[in-house]
């Protein structure tokens, strides 16, 4: 199976990426400090580190869940700058180190629900996205934020395959982006973010499906018009702008009513009911008051 799998990946044009990845040093795990306990923590048991870091959707490193943990070591996460653009007073590039000075690092233990029907509990380390937005000072025109990932074929073998329209992009309404639940994560389990989880900087919006949590962010663009995300471009019937977790609105091809929590119960791990807004309805419900969530999925 393994050999067959490798053969198929090679045929998809990833062979050189895999060969490269074989020479990559194992990632250094570095403690982040200081970290304060943040709000909204779930008391559910966190998903084991091994599962959080080996079961990933990060197509820039291959489409199999095990590809990112094997291939992502080729990304160069330092130095790293984020370009802030569009309808803001401070349209400029900011280095990761300066970003980290905007706010103290917090631990946020959140549920993560993937659109594919599985979920995790992840102790993220990060800071509110709102702090960066305050720093950028959006103008009156800004109504949305578009996020853009790195898309460098030299560092990301999956980008050589047109499985999505690269670079990966995502978007939030400005009020969603300012919501205190929304964070930019730079770590998990008290350590720097592993490459396969979106190092060095990723979005975490726990009331939305996991793919909204764009990884390896290089740019934030403030706009008046609603941005079109990569998944909307790929299939607008199946993936909408909001992509809020909603057990009542199925994906056109599969149910969203239940989910399987990764890392629990092995083979006899039963599905659990998916909660509205992934259990964060009390916090974010008012953002969507009066909206038809079937239409704005």
């Amino acid at each position: 199976m393994q050999t067959a799998g490798l053969g198929l990946i090679a045929s998809a044009g990833l062979a050189s990426g895999l060969v490269q990845a074989a020479n990559v040093q194992p990632q250094a795990r570095r403690k982040l400090a200081p970290i304060v306990k943040g709000p909204y923590a779930t008391d559910e048991k966190p998903t084991p580190y091994a599962d959080v870091t080996t079961y990933n959707n990060f197509y820039e490193f291959g489409t199999d869940k095990s590809d990112p943990s094997r291939n992502a070591g080729t990304i160069r996460t330092r130095p790293w700058t984020v370009s802030v653009e569009g309808d803001v007073k401070r349209a400029k590039r900011i280095s990761l180190d300066d970003l980290l000075k905007l706010a103290p690092l917090e631990e946020r233990i959140y549920r993560m629900r993937c659109v594919e029907g599985w979920s995790m509990v992840i102790p993220w380390v990060g800071f509110p996205l709102a702090r960066l937005i305050e720093w950028a000072e959006p103008t009156g025109n800004a109504r949305y934020v578009e996020f853009i990932s790195l898309a460098d074929p030299d560092q990301m073998p999956g980008v050589r395959v047109p499985v999505l329209d690269w670079p990966y992009t995502e978007g939030l309404r400005l009020d969603e982006a300012r919501h205190p639940l929304a964070i930019l994560a730079v770590g998990l389990y008290g350590e720097t973010l592993p490459d396969q989880n979106g190092a060095p900087l990723r979005l975490v919006v726990p009331w939305k499906y996991g793919f909204k949590g764009i990884k390896s962010i290089v740019s934030l663009r403030f706009t008046e018009k609603m941005p079109v995300s990569s998944w909307m471009r790929a299939n607008s019937r199946e993936y909408g702008f909001y992509s809020n977790v909603n057990p009542e609105v199925d994906h056109p091809r599969w149910s969203q009513a239940t989910e399987r929590r990764i890392g629990e119960g092995g083979l006899f791990n039963r599905r659990r009911k998916t909660l509205m807004f992934n259990g964060y309805a009390d916090q974010v419900g008012q953002l969507y008051a009066g909206m038809d969530l079937r239409k704005y999925f």
Partner: protein, 204 residues
């Protein structure tokens, strides 16, 4: 080297036994990985996917027997076809069981809804249903009883192949590489039959 049209009975038995054991390896692998808790972060998905892809693989191998026999002249290959087809059924049963048990926990209401609402589940379920009569009529006695109808009935396998490949195609989120590979092999194998049929008709 001349390829043998027939095999001596003792060698044919050795070949059959070898294939019988080899075809059990995908199941053995799951059992070993399962006992070592090595089925990855999502063991249920792993088991369902593995049984599903092996069902498709055995279906394609079974469909490959006739073309291979005709091209190479190795007529003895025909005596492997029943076993390979039954292995496709065997892995389909495991695939179906792992879905109803490990994935859905016998929640029949949810299963009926899943089959009715989701087209990839529906075509997969239809393929599974079609496999049942083929497995049931795979014995020598049934072949004799059905006579000419046996072959007509067993042409269902072409439909099963198409349904199975479609099932895989429709469930994939974005990267179609794997379903396309299965689909391409299927088209090749069905295309060969169409081609030889057209040739036969034009000669006659």
């Amino acid at each position: 080297m001349e390829l043998p049209t027939r095999l001596p009975p003792d060698r044919l038995i050795t070949v059959k036994r070898t294939i019988f054991v080899l075809a059990l390896l995908p199941l053995l692998r799951l059992v070993v990985l399962g006992f070592n808790e090595d089925l990855g972060a999502n063991p249920v998905e792993f088991v369902i996917r593995s049984n599903g892809t092996w069902t498709l693989t055995f279906l394609l191998i079974t469909l490959g027997i006739t073309p291979l026999r005709k091209i190479t002249g190795m007529n003895w290959l025909l005596s492997l076809r029943r076993m390979l087809g039954l292995y496709a059924f065997f892995y389909a049963v495991l695939h179906f069981l792992s879905y109803v048990w490990l994935d859905q926990w016998f929640d029949w209401g949810a299963i009926v809804k899943d089959v009715a609402k989701h087209r990839y589940v529906l075509v997969g379920f239809a393929a599974f249903l079609c496999l049942i009569p083929l497995a049931a009529t795979s014995t020598n006695a049934m072949m004799r009883r059905l006579g000419r109808n046996w072959q007509t009935l067993h042409r269902l396998v072409y439909l099963i192949g198409v349904l199975g490949a479609t099932h895989y195609w429709w469930l994939v989120k974005k990267d179609l590489t794997q379903p396309l590979i299965y689909g391409a092999v299927l088209i090749l194998l069905l295309g060969y039959r169409l081609l030889t049929k057209v040739q036969r008709t034009s000669i006659a």
